[in-house]
């Protein structure tokens, strides 16, 4: 089964959007994770935290110009939801590092069996900086990785990360277009599988051992 990049992203974002509880405070990374916000069920109230100092991120503010005083962490002008709050970077990382953010969704280059995450350095390529990602992964109560299952066929879920780590042992859940995998103390537990793929295909495209339970659910995006 071949899915386009867009199809993959949509499946992943939609599936991640089901992971939250009423009232959760969530910080989304840039790129694919940002798209999760588009699929939150309408009857679920979650609060998006932006590390630059905003709780209650709304949607993109198309009326604003480059000098907007209300932006998200990507520098994009945004609206605010009722109940929003502004604060400084110090308070923002008190929230993030102090365990006051319920979940963060981040992309990854590699994730391994121990919940190690590598998402900030590709050796030999320009390193843009970790931004707030290292704090988010360490501090958020739940770390969800949203990424395509492979990088041009190369497994991203591996036995042991070979790329420089963003944080050690902090990942809780991995959501790809093929599967939902939980990081447990026993290893990687396969929870859901996209019926477009066979179990063999998922296992073959994963570079780490997967614990396959008897009751494997369908990944419903």
């Amino acid at each position: 089964m071949e899915l386009t990049k867009e199809q993959c992203r949509e499946i992943i974002a939609k599936r991640v959007a089901k992971e939250f509880n009423e009232g959760d405070v969530i910080t989304l990374g840039i790129g694919l994770p940002t798209e999760v916000a588009n699929y939150i069920p309408h009857n679920l109230h979650v609060i998006f935290q932006s590390e630059n100092g905003l709780l209650g991120v709304g949607h993109r503010d198309l009326s604003a110009d480059g000098s907007s005083k209300v932006t998200n962490a990507g520098g994009i002008a945004v609206t605010t939801k009722p109940g929003a709050a502004f604060f400084d970077s110090l308070t923002s990382f008190t929230m993030i590092r102090g365990g006051h953010v319920d979940a963060t969704v981040l992309g990854a280059l590699q994730v391994d069996e121990q919940g190690n995450l590598a998402n900030w350095i590709i050796p030999g390529k320009f390193v843009p900086g970790m931004g707030g990602a290292m704090d988010l992964v360490v501090g958020a109560k739940r770390v969800i990785i949203a990424m395509e299952h492979t990088n041009k066929g190369e497994p991203r879920i591996v036995k042991r990360c070979t790329l420089p780590l963003t944080a050690a042992g902090e990942v809780d859940l991995i959501v790809t277009e093929r599967a939902v995998i939980e990081v447990t103390s026993q290893g990687l537990l396969l929870k859901e599988i996209n019926p477009l793929f066979s179990l063999d295909e998922v296992i073959a495209s994963t570079g780490a051992h997967l614990i396959v339970p008897d009751s494997l659910q369908n990944l419903v995006a």
Partner: protein, 213 residues
Amino acid sequence: MKKIISLAEAGRLITDSSSIMVGGFLRCGTPARLIDEILKNTAGNLTLIANDTCVPEHDRGKLIVNKRVKKVIAAHIGTNPETGKQFNAGELEVELVPMGTLVERIRAGGAGLGGVLTPTGIGTTVAENKKVVEIDGRKFLFEKPLKADFALIYGTKADKFGNVFLSGTTRNFNTVMATAAETVIVEPEELCDEPLHPDEITIPGIFVDYVAV
């Protein structure tokens, strides 16, 4: 009363080899006109401490493009390709610091603390050559305080006492940088004749040396 000076005068305060903290998160809440004044003069070899190096066309991003900076301490430099280019060419030193660690290091500098003990960076290259302390069974990284010669601060409103109000997401690093530099210069969008209400002050005037208009 704080010294109200012109932007031009403020710009001339920044001399060669100064370390400068510049508030702002990308283009939001950043003292852009102060940076332009620095560019009108010759000050170079600067150490720039900021969340990011913005984009090449705007404020502190221009300091990089104009090769005024010898060292950057920041959490993110990806939005300004010129930073990476100069780094790769060996022209610019870059110290990447996790954002939450950067803000705490600056706060430690401003609050008279000896450093920061953070779980962020444990098990990563950020921890290389740094002291790791185990506290109640958990590992923390010791990170040093950061101070600077100058802090260039954006203000939405300021009064003559140096009190500053910041609106929206413009607070970012401005509040904490205002505590951690030898000389703190605020560039307000509006200088108010009347004092700000004491309840609406984001940065108390005690931290501010000059208001540049």
